[in-house]
């Protein structure tokens, strides 16, 4: 079994996976995607999950963020033991603790840039959702694009809206799945700068999945996944 522990043991652990496995049934029998993963991530830490395509890193990210359930093992996120919660309770935990940035941006097509950023605060019933969103959009350099719909924005701009939305929830942990995967190098590095600077500013824990070695190198720690296991 492989082990992955944080470099700085003085910070409290915010994400913890113990002996996590994921098995799915396919037409050709059972497929083991993750096998006995143990992982701890401390508050304020930035961690890159790297590995080849199909290694299981995205599945692990989903499980750590409470988007998916493991077949066995225990996952903790902040005060919650995710694996003991149902979907309703996991959603509550996500709303409270987690922010996301996706490779495919995942903005809501029917909402404007501003409305997309307002969404997390609105869902929490926050009264100053608009002011906060205006501020965040300005922070990512899109103050002049409030009323634009996602299809009217470039890829880089869409991802900046997505980053603003991720921080609108003031998450404890930000999960990012290939945040630069759909962007050119220059735009990608601007987005990365943005994520890291906001991460610093909001004192967020960052967990990201990437192929990009330079991006992985900017993180405090890298964990490589191969064939469903942590290899270093």
């Amino acid at each position: 079994m492989t082990q992955a522990t944080p470099n700085d043991a003085t910070q409290p652990t915010v994400v913890q996976a113990s002996n996590v496995s994921k098995v799915v049934s396919t037409s050709e029998g059972e497929l083991r995607i993750l096998a006995g993963i143990d992982l701890e991530i401390n508050a304020g830490e930035s961690l890159a999950l790297v590995g080849a395509s199909g290694s299981g890193k995205t599945t692990l990210l989903g499980i750590l963020a409470g988007l998916d359930e493991p077949t066995s093992g225990v996952v903790r996120l902040g005060p919650y033991e995710l694996t003991a919660l149902d979907e309703e309770q996991r959603a509550k935990a996500r709303g409270e603790l987690v922010g996301f940035v996706f490779q495919t941006f995942q903005l809501l097509e029917s909402l404007t840039a501003l409305e997309n950023v307002m969404l997390p605060s609105e869902l929490r019933g926050s009264r100053d959702a608009r002011e906060q969103a205006v501020e965040l959009l300005a922070r990512v350099g899109l103050e002049h694009r409030h009323g634009h719909y996602p299809r009217q924005l470039s890829g880089g701009e869409q991802q900046r809206v997505a980053v603003a939305r991720a921080f609108a929830a003031q998450p404890k942990v930000l999960f990012a799945d290939e945040p630069t995967g759909n962007l050119d190098t220059a735009t990608g590095s601007k987005i990365v700068d943005l994520i890291f600077s906001l991460n610093q500013e909001f004192a967020t824990t960052l967990v990201l999945v990437t192929h990009d070695e330079r991006l992985a190198a900017r993180c405090d720690r890298s964990v490589t996944i191969a064939f469903g296991e942590i290899s270093q």
């Binding site: 989903g62 509550k92 996500r94």
Partner: protein, 830 residues
């Protein structure tokens, strides 16, 4: 429920056009149901009123004896209007020489309770509606009595011992031609004048009627109150005129079937539109879930969205439906100069509840799926919803369909037929559809690039296409069924009373008068029927028991209407008459010398007589015994002379006999009757031309209603087409953008689409044609009592209709797909 989130989602989806199709489908569902039921409701009421005109009342109680005065009090207590009439034949005299047998109708003030009296200012003049009745001491006469009696308006005639003044020419009254003795020219007088005539004596042929008008419930309750005795009959439109009764019953069934199909089609459109909306929101929901929205909150929010949409759609649908029904009425104003009763609230309630049921049963399941969308969808696409909830949605849709059908048709049998037929069709045609799709793949590999792309595209989405094919096939099937049934019913109705059908019956002809009369009809070039011998007689014994004892022995089976002892017209014939079919027993041999008798099956059943029974008849005081050797079924709608009791030839030979025949007299040759009556003063002529004209007018109105319902169903069907094409639009858009990005020209994309849609339509049309043919054959034989027939043109029309409709609608609704730059599409869907 999170109304704030629902409102926000609904408003934003509406603004971006996401809810448009769902809203439209619901509006069409509610609007077409509202319009059809408003129209049908008003038309049905109008048709019932019109039919009630036949009786001059909603119901009546008839008897050959005076009805007890307590009936009027009971009617008053139930808030039902009641008016007395009395019918009897009588000789009237004008001066010393001229006399004529007339049919007298004596009426009380208030007559008629339904329909109108028409009078003319001179004999054979055009009739105009009047509210008046003859004054006391006055009579109104039929046009042809004026020349026959040699009288004019203002003259006096004698009816029995009373002298009455002729004050008007009566051209029509609503309940003309209603009874056995109600033939001959009409004389209308006041009931209060009857005693003075002294013609009403014991043994007179009298028909007393108490006409009634009121609410259906009150009338039914009144029937119970009356506690009718044998000899008193309760008559509504269905009893009084079987032709109109069955035409109305069929029309009702047909309109209901039409309404039912519109609901089903609209329901299909709602299913498709809701499924598309839900599918387009999988990512949306996944994102909301990653942002911390739980499954219950998702469900509550989207149900909220749906309820908001339903509320708006129902409101809009009701308004549109109401407007639509007014438009229909306006368009038909010329054709339908009948006063429609004001619309009731029921159609609006029907529309609203239909909208709500459509929403809950057809749209809600797709929305419930959203609850189960995995948040992992944001990272890994195509996860969709978990399968178990699909069972829920199928059962909800099925429950909704059953609830709607049952509620809408109030007919369990029709509902079961529709459901059974649809389910069986779906299973069989699912298999057939797969085979057809496989076939196109084989064809496609050998075709040119345009065809290859198109057929490959059909094959690639074979699951979606199969569903789409079944849905469109079902829509085409429903439309074809409606067209087929309409054609079948209309031609059958029209055949019922063919051009030149006999409209006058001549009775009481002496044997030697028959050839003379036929010569006169020949000379006037009027077509006539064969002459039937007729003897009046009654059954006095059944198997040795007197008729009274037999009735008592029959116990409960004996009903007031089946009085075996009453006097009947008897005839004899060697061969089974036209329009008669043998149900059991054997028709006699031509040379048979035995006394045999054949009975109409319904008459035999009600009288409690079976094959082999021995009946003793009293004919003018002489008695005759005959054995029942066959039972017949009659075509009551044939307008030909029909007999309950037919003897074998020879059995009645020694009895005094008269003949009856029938002929067709065009309306402009009515004066011919005067010459006829002068030549044969003893004969009786029954005029049924007015009755036939009434039946035809009702049938033509029913036909118009049926056509309208067809158009509305067609609109609903087209919406299903649009919805089903829209359902696959996103996937197509992406593929064709790719095709164009890879160098495909617009012409290639357009051609591919056209071929794909046309092929899909053709396959769907083939399925529809097969389904329609089978269902119509079943419906015709099982529900409408018509013979089944094959319709070869349907096999051509189905696929053609499918190809043209789907290619047309498909190309229109995907034209943006061809004109949108591929970059926009690829980025928009990336």
């Amino acid at each position: 429920m999170n109304w704030r989130l629902s409102r926000m989602l609904a408003w934003r989806d509406w603004r971006s056009g996401e809810l448009g199709l769902l809203m439209l489908a619901l509006v069409v569902a509610v609007a077409s149901v509202t319009a059809i039921s408003l129209f049908v409701d008003r038309l049905q009421q109008a048709m019932l009123n019109e039919s009630a005109d036949f009786l001059a009342a909603d119901r009546y109680v008839g008897s050959s004896r005076e009805l007890p005065p307590s009936f009027r009090d009971l009617a008053q207590a139930r808030n039902v209007q009641a008016v007395d009439t009395l019918l009897f034949p009588s000789m009237v005299f004008a001066g010393e020489e001229l006399n004529q047998l007339v049919s007298v109708k004596a009426v009380s003030p208030g007559y008629p309770l339904r329909g109108r009296l028409r009078v003319a200012t001179q004999p054979f003049g055009v009739g105009v509606v009047t509210q008046a009745l003859p004054e006391l001491g006055e009579v109104w006469l039929d046009s042809r009595l004026f020349p026959a009696l040699g009288v004019a308006l203002g003259d006096t005639i004698e009816v029995g011992l009373a002298k009455l003044t002729i004050s008007n020419v009566i051209t029509s009254e609503p309940d003309r031609g209603g009874g056995m003795f109600d033939w001959g020219p009409r004389l209308l007088m006041r009931m209060a004048d009857v005693p003075a005539t002294e013609v009403v004596q014991p043994g007179s042929r009298l028909t007393y009627r108490l006409l009634l008008r009121g609410d259906d419930d009150d009338l039914e309750a009144l029937k119970e109150d009356f506690d009718l005795q044998p000899g008193q009959s309760w008559v509504g439109i269905k009893e009084s005129s079987p032709s109109i009764g069955s035409a109305l019953a069929r029309a009702e069934r047909f309109l209901l079937l039409g309404g039912l199909l519109a609901v089903l089609l609209a329901g299909l459109a709602v299913v498709l539109a809701a499924a598309r909306y839900a599918r387009r929101h999988y990512d949306h929901v996944a994102v909301l879930k990653t942002l911390g929205t739980g499954p219950n909150a998702i469900l509550a929010s989207y149900v909220g969205v749906l309820l908001l949409v339903a509320a708006v759609a129902i409101a809009v649908g009701l308004i549109v439906g109401f407007g639509l029904h007014w438009l229909i009425l306006l368009a038909l104003q010329e054709l339908m100069p009948i006063e429609l009763p004001p619309p009731g609230v029921r159609p609006l309630v029907l529309g609203s509840i239909t909208g709500l049921i459509c929403t809950m049963a057809f749209a809600l399941p797709a929305f419930i799926h959203l609850r189960n969308v995995s948040p992992m969808n944001v990272i890994r696409r195509d996860l969709g919803a978990t399968p178990p909830s699909r069972y829920l949605s199928y059962s909800m849709a099925a429950a909704g369909v059953i609830a709607l059908l049952l509620w809408y048709t109030q007919d369990v049998l029709l509902t079961l037929w529709a459901l059974g037929g649809t389910s069986l069709t779906l299973v069989i045609f699912g298999a057939l559809g797969l085979l057809l799709l496989r076939g196109t793949r084989v064809l496609g590999t050998q075709a040119g690039s345009l065809w290859r792309f198109a057929l490959a595209s059909l094959q690639r989405r074979h699951r979606e296409n199969l569903v789409q094919m079944l849905v469109i096939g079902l829509a085409i099937m429903l439309i074809l069924i409606l067209v087929l049934l309409r054609t079948a019913l209309l031609s059958e109705w029209q055949q019922q009373i063919p051009e030149g059908a006999p409209n006058h019956f001549v009775m009481n002809l002496q044997p030697e008068q028959v050839p003379e009369l036929q010569a006169q009809l020949d000379a006037a070039q009027l077509p006539f029927d064969e002459a039937f011998a007729m003897v009046r007689g009654r059954v006095v014994e059944v198997n040795g028991l007197s008729a009274k004892e037999h009735r008592a022995a029959q116990g409960e089976q004996d009903r007031p209407g089946a009085n075996i002892g009453s006097e009947r017209n008897l005839t004899w014939t060697a061969t089974l008459p036209q329009g008669n079919s043998l149900v059991s027993g054997q028709w006699w041999a031509e040379a048979s010398a035995a006394s045999e008798v054949s009975l109409e099956e319904e008459y035999a059943r009600e009288a409690g007589v079976s094959l082999g029974d021995e009946l003793r008849f009293d004919i003018g005081g002489r008695q005759l015994t005959a054995r029942v050797t066959s039972l017949r079924r009659l075509d009551w709608e044939s307008m030909r002379p029909n007999f309950f009791i037919i003897f074998s030839p020879g059995a009645l030979e020694s009895f005094p006999v008269t003949y009856m025949t029938s002929f067709h007299l065009p309306v402009d040759q009515k004066r011919f009757l005067n010459g006829l009556l002068t030549s044969f003063p003893t004969v009786t002529v029954i005029e049924v031309d007015a009755l036939i004209a009434r039946i035809q007018s009702i049938i033509s109105r029913v036909t118009q209603a049926v056509e309208l319902v067809l158009y509305l169903v067609l609109v609903a069907g087209c919406l299903v087409l649009v919805a089903s094409i829209q359902a696959s639009r996103d996937a197509r858009m992406h593929e064709h953008a790719l095709l164009r990005a890879l160098g495909g020209t617009r012409a290639l994309v357009a051609g591919t689409l056209a071929i794909e849609f046309a092929a899909l339509g053709m396959l769907a049309g083939t399925i529809g044609a097969i389904g329609a043919e089978v269902t119509v054959a079943l419906l015709q034989t099982q529900a409408f009592d018509l013979p089944a027939r094959a319709h070869p043109w349907v096999w051509l029309l189905g696929p053609l209709l499918g190809a043209v409709l789907i290619a047309g609608v498909g190309m229109i609704s995907t034209r943006s797909l061809i004109s949108t730059p591929p970059m926009l599409v690829l980025r928009g869907l990336s």
